[in-house]
Point group: C2
Chain length 478, copies 2
């Protein structure tokens, strides 16, 4: 975000006025568009409110903006002195559209983290820079000769990456796949999006865990899909609940995140995996197995994937490099019957014409690299250490106020607050105290839960992050 | 695509049977799914039909597949000997979904090009390998130190790339943009998709050129948008037609491809640019200016972009590296008012969580590289040469049968066939004679037009490609 530069000779208010004038004249702030309230802008820019007041004064004087009691400050619609020119009513366009905006809580967290203040990030479920295999990737970029054609690629994805994945999936997840049954996607996110947009129709009902990462995704609403939560206990989804939901709502798909479930950390038991697969086979409904975390086991290994047990093409299996290597690669995959892969590969062409060759080329080399196994071992060690640091911090600071299970893998710790609390106030207080986390209600849980990630902050931020959370919690409880 | 290996000891039919058995047992060909007809498979695999017959025989004998008179050969639904297990009816899922499949002609072309036969590609509007700046890209990958964070990136795109684009757009298109008004997308395609899904609502009407690249994009149907064609002459869209369409259909946006229009090659005249901008300003409707070709001027330069003339934020400007550097980079951009950029950046998170850092990092360096200008000059020289080779070949081979204008830029030559012809038969004959091209009706024109690209084949394929087309045309006319 732009900020005024205190080292310049030009007064701050003048810098702000000039900056806004430039944005207005470029059409970035079209006529009629609302400017931030003075107090808000002064916070964003880190200046006194009176400085913003003076900048707005200046712009008003030149006729570029207008303020009206009760309706804020707007770019003047008559700024060009020609009444014949109008700007599209962008508000109406921006508020339309099929794609739904992110949840307010998620936008607030992003805003808090981008504000320029130091906010410890216990919110984003991704790896800290020091957990990513930067050196391996940097050196393979430098040393592997890049000699790939630069045209539009294969709609299913770069063939050597699909080949590398068949070995990877076989070795690490006992999944048998072939090149033809793999689609490379922009993370698991794009796989989920393609399923909702390419295989389901508006009005369709699906079953998801309750709570679930899926509740945080407006993509289901965008596709007009009805979500029904499945009952869950400490061993994951209760299989019979699927039958209930089928009888009541004719669910057309079951979405599962069986390993170190986001947000609760639960692992679906082996018996239930078999039971769920049998039930779905009998009902003829597909299972989406979203499995980004299985290689982040911190204690014992996870049970075999449903896809391994699936001999009938009932399971759409989804994986990703985001949680085990780098989310900025944007490399994920889906393993599914060929007709499904073909349909979704074709549909994806409309959205983006497929993935860039470069991250696919890097991922193919990374998966085949001798550095992969040592990286995974080291990653687990570091995640285990971080998890323990966070658990100890919670014990030390909030033993009486919160309760949680130690997660056995994944990047997140799911934490219950023992007394009733207002999620909204808690998040605002958290941001004010310099810490971001995700209120559980984002994932569809009742209020009073919080998801912390121990993977994203740097190690030495975990303890202070929890301390700041403790202050925010006490403040909220006052 | 898998093919049997003639160098192996194993008989071809056995290789085919084993391959199919493997795909069936992995669930890639789920029970009940249809196998290709014997003749078709034998063509695809390049074997005799009797070999496929024998392979199917083998699979039938082991109960894996069943053939029924009139309904073809299917994977046996009882293959596991347990009637309780069923496969999801994938057909119903695959035929559902909001995202529409590609047009049949486009799928047929892709299939023809992937068939394994040598087919000269005059169909894909992209650069041949030898026109891409491979050396520059390879050397920057090798020599620029990669030191970027590997986490989820900024939703609007990598900041240094946006900064490089502001200079690039200023220098090459006289467009003033700032970081905040730029969104990096996966080619222009994703910009178009985001506009249809993020700003328009089902039932909305828009105006597009007739013919237009947009007609080839099922994304408009997927979003439930009604397309109205604008009348076009040799100077592009006739401005008054916009007013007509507005009065009749309340169009909510105008899509233009003003420079070397795909497929016709037309350049919108400077006077009309101004007139269209004024009309749209008065009506308060946004213009989408899709401008991938402006830097491929072969003769004189193109007029200033509408975005340069736009001082009110009426124009959404879209560009791409696909047609001037490499389509496999998947780097495009949109310049628009900040509120629009923010809305679409947020919406895109749902689809794919943003672009990979790697192509963005490469593009930022490429745009700032001293090699960019020499590359663009060389590209134009080579495209001009190729265009002339194609035009001469058409003159030599088909002077009486076709007519065309010499395109002044872009990658395509738009060709009218002087006598009535059946598009479908022409394409099939083309593929049979070893040449692919795009029938004009894909872009909404009446039948009897063809789009050839001179950019995609290698130089020495252009003349034979046209010769093969001439044979196919004569065959079709017979
Ligand atoms: C369960 C689950 N699925 C999918 C995703 C999407 O991640 P990506 O697209 O980076 O693979 C996430 C990210 O938080 C997740 O937690
Ligand atoms: C007019 C026009 N717009 C957009 C595109 C999409 O190209 P890309 O997404 O590679 O930039 C094309 C490609 O053919 C095109 O011709």
């Amino acid at each position: 975000m732009w900020k005024p530069d205190r080292s310049l000779n030009k007064p701050l208010y003048q810098q702000i006025a000039d900056h806004l004038e430039q944005r207005i004249s470029l059409g970035e702030l079209p006529s009629g568009s609302l400017l931030p309230a003075e107090r808000k802008l002064s916070e964003q820019l880190g200046v006194n409110r009176s400085t913003v007041v003076q900048a707005y004064e200046e712009l008003r004087a030149s006729g570029l903006i207008e303020s009206m009691k009760g309706s804020g400050t707007r770019v003047s619609p008559r700024k060009w002195g020609k009444t014949s020119r109008r700007t599209p009513n962008w508000n109406r366009y921006v508020e339309g559209g099929i794609l739904q905006p992110s949840l307010p809580f998620m936008r607030r967290i992003r805003e808090g983290l981008q504000s320029g203040e130091t906010v410890i990030n216990l919110a984003y479920g991704e790896l800290a820079a020091e957990l990513c295999p930067n050196d391996t990737i940097t050196s393979l970029i430098r040393n592997e000769p890049f000699d790939q054609p630069l045209g539009y690629g294969d709609p299913q994805g770069y063939v050597p990456l699909r080949t590398a994945l068949t070995s990877f999936l076989h070795e690490h997840r006992s999944i048998q796949a072939t090149n033809q049954s793999i689609l490379i996607t922009s993370g698991s996110q794009q796989s989920l999006y393609l399923i909702t947009q390419g295989l389901l129709s508006p009005g369709d009902a699906i079953a998801i865990e309750n709570p679930s990462y899926c509740y945080s995704l407006p993509m289901f609403q965008s596709a007009g899909i009805r979500l029904f939560g499945m009952a869950v206990d400490e061993h994951g989804v209760i299989p019979d609940d699927i039958l209930n939901l089928y009888t009541q709502h004719r669910i057309r798909m079951v979405f599962l995140n069986p390993n170190y479930h986001n947000p609760t950390g639960t692992v679906l038991s082996p018996e239930r995996r078999i039971a769920i697969l049998r039930i779905c086979e009998q009902l003829g409904i597909p299972i989406v197995e979203d499995d980004p975390f299985s290689l982040t086991a911190l204690d014992e290994e996870v049970p075999p994937p449903l896809k391994m047990l699936d001999q009938n093409g009932t399971v759409l299996y989804i994986g990703s490099l985001s949680k085990i290597a780098a989310s900025g690669l944007r490399i994920g995959w889906m393993v599914a019957p060929h007709s499904v892969i073909q349909r979704l590969a074709d549909a994806r062409q409309q959205m983006d014409f497929g993935l860039s060759i470069f991250p696919q080329w890097i991922a193919a080399h990374f998966l085949a690299s001798p550095e992969l196994s040592p990286h995974l071992i080291q990653l687990r060690d570091q995640l285990r250490f971080r998890r323990d640091v966070m658990a100890q911090a919670l014990q030390r600071q909030l033993a009486d106020e919160v309760s949680f299970e130690l997660p056995k893998g994944g990047l997140n710790l799911w934490c219950r607050i023992n007394r009733p609390v207002n999620d909204y106030a808690l998040l605002e207080n958290g941001l004010k105290h310099g810490v971001a986390f995700v209120p559980g209600s984002v994932y569809g849980s009742e209020s009073g839960f919080v998801r912390f990630t121990y993977a994203r902050p740097s190690v030495h931020e975990i303890e202070p992050g929890i301390a700041q959370f403790a202050m925010a919690l006490r403040k909220t409880m006052e």
